[in-house]
């Protein structure tokens, strides 16, 4: 098993944190893992991405040209990575924010209304009943894990419990719910190549 995943979105959408959760989960399951962020001036306002490699073997390059799976949380990310996914790879995109169709026909494509799901799950616990889109990253991570089986969903849940920053602890349950909702997307959809 050797998976190379890029998670990409606007700075603030949590692409890097979603990647860290995945790396933690991989490590907990005894895999070799690397996580490397884009870092630099592009992180404020522009897109930020990270590359996660999870493998049965020691990881050579932590950077990849053609990832086996991509999560695109916004349109610039889809524009950037659609053409780079390996043939027959997985492309998950945030259909709440991305309206255009995917052009590649040789990929497994899963649109996920990640912002909408996040709004629903956060609204349940917010004081004023208003939700927000901050869990879109975790929603799509749930989809990725369910669709690929790279790690078990429970391991990601454990990683969330262990690594969600203390100040966000009241968001733990919505995060867990968002993760499961993202996983359900895979079951609910007829996904075709």
């Amino acid at each position: 098993m050797h998976e190379e995943i890029i998670i990409s979105g606007f700075g603030g959408q949590g692409a890097l944190f979603a990647g860290q959760l995945l790396a933690y989960a991989g490590m907990e399951e005894g895999k070799h893992v690397t996580w490397i962020p884009s870092y630099g001036p592009e992180m404020r306002g522009g897109t930020a991405h990270c590359t996660v490699v999870i493998s049965d073997d020691p990881v050579g390059s932590p950077l990849v040209r053609h990832p086996s799976a991509v999560i695109a949380l916004n349109l610039p990310s889809l524009d950037k990575y659609e053409g780079l996914v390996k043939p027959r790879g997985l492309l998950i995109y945030n259909s709440s924010l991305i309206q255009r169709p995917v052009y590649r026909t040789d990929l497994r494509v899963i649109p996920v209304p990640a912002n909408d799901i996040s709004v629903e799950e956060t609204a349940r616990v917010s004081e004023n009943g208003m939700g927000d889109a901050r869990l879109a990253n975790v929603v799509t991570l749930g989809t990725l894990v369910q669709a690929t089986g790279i790690v078990r969903l429970e391991t990601v849940e454990a990683a969330l419990r262990a690594h969600l920053p203390q100040r966000h602890l009241r968001w733990l349950e919505p995060n867990l719910a968002a993760l499961r909702r993202g996983a359900l997307v895979v079951a609910e959809r007829v996904v075709a190549y």
Binding site: M27, V33, W35, Y39, G60, S61, L63
Partner: protein
Amino acid sequence: MAKELWKGNEAMAEAALRAGVEAYFGYPITPQTELLEYMAREMPKRGRVFLQAESELGAINMLYGAACGGVRCMSSSSSPGISLMTEGLSYIAGTEVPVVLVDIMRGGPGLGNIQPSQGDYFQMTKSLGHGDANALVFAPSSVQEAVDMVYNAFDLAEKYRCVVVILGDGMIGQMMEPVEMPPERPPLTEEQRPDWALRGAKGRPPRILTSLNLTAEGLERANQRIQARLAEIRKNEVRWEEEMTADADLLLVAFGTVGRICKSALRLARQAGYRVGLFRPITVWPFPEQRLHELAGQVRGILVVEMNAGQMLLDVKAAVAGRAPVRFYGRLGGVVPLPDEIAEQVASLAASLPGDGYRPARNGHQGVAPVVASAAVKA
């Protein structure tokens, strides 16, 4: 102990804490800043000294002072900051006091950018500062290796009274990998302080630490003493890693993060049928020249890959001494070479070799036409 996921910069800081570092001086610069930030947070908690200087010039001279006091001390920076420190490093080397320095290299020259680079190789291995200053220089290719190097660096610096440099790049600083942290060691006790340290001269004759030596003969003796220690380092501390060299007739040579990327390239090239091996210097000063010289007699060609315009290349050529053709592939300005392009260079090297119609060992692959990226440099 269980493995934890650590970011390179923070992992190196924690390793230094566990090695008993007592004082850290620095100035923030990307892509190294998390190391300094970690120290800012953790050093005061343990009652140790963290001081952000007004500049790298200030930091290196504070480090100089702390080292003269015989305390375990370190600094870290990235390429432009290291340039500012080189005067102080030469003074430290001339005064024969131990310090540990982490250089997380970024693209240059000048202000350059903040992406990974290996452009400081010459500066760290050949020109630490003016005079015959030299450091023991380690080049980590994983976060675990960086941790182990930092952890052991203080003992080595004290043993040889020299500067020990951990020469990483933005990639090793920024990436996260599982790490097993070494055990916590207590800082040195007063009895463990070196016998040359300036600790106050009450009740004993004063000690003098200086790099100033106005007589030629006196300075020559000091230099000979320094050179004798460097010779010991050459004898005792040379380290390298080899992968699949046993049957190799082609050899990749790369250090640091490019060394690990070459492991992926090696797999690709092996799948394509090329009998390629990897030689990765772990110390880049002293350079593992003897083993490379031996390997050069076994292979048909050598490919050196670096994120610079060909710096370690000169050390490779000196070690190979004409026993095999040496080619170079370099990316500049913070561009990281990826496994597929390195594998193409291996194929290109193989195709260029003279003699008995070299063909890869398996599946009749004829080699790929030479592909030289626009930013690539050919030696």
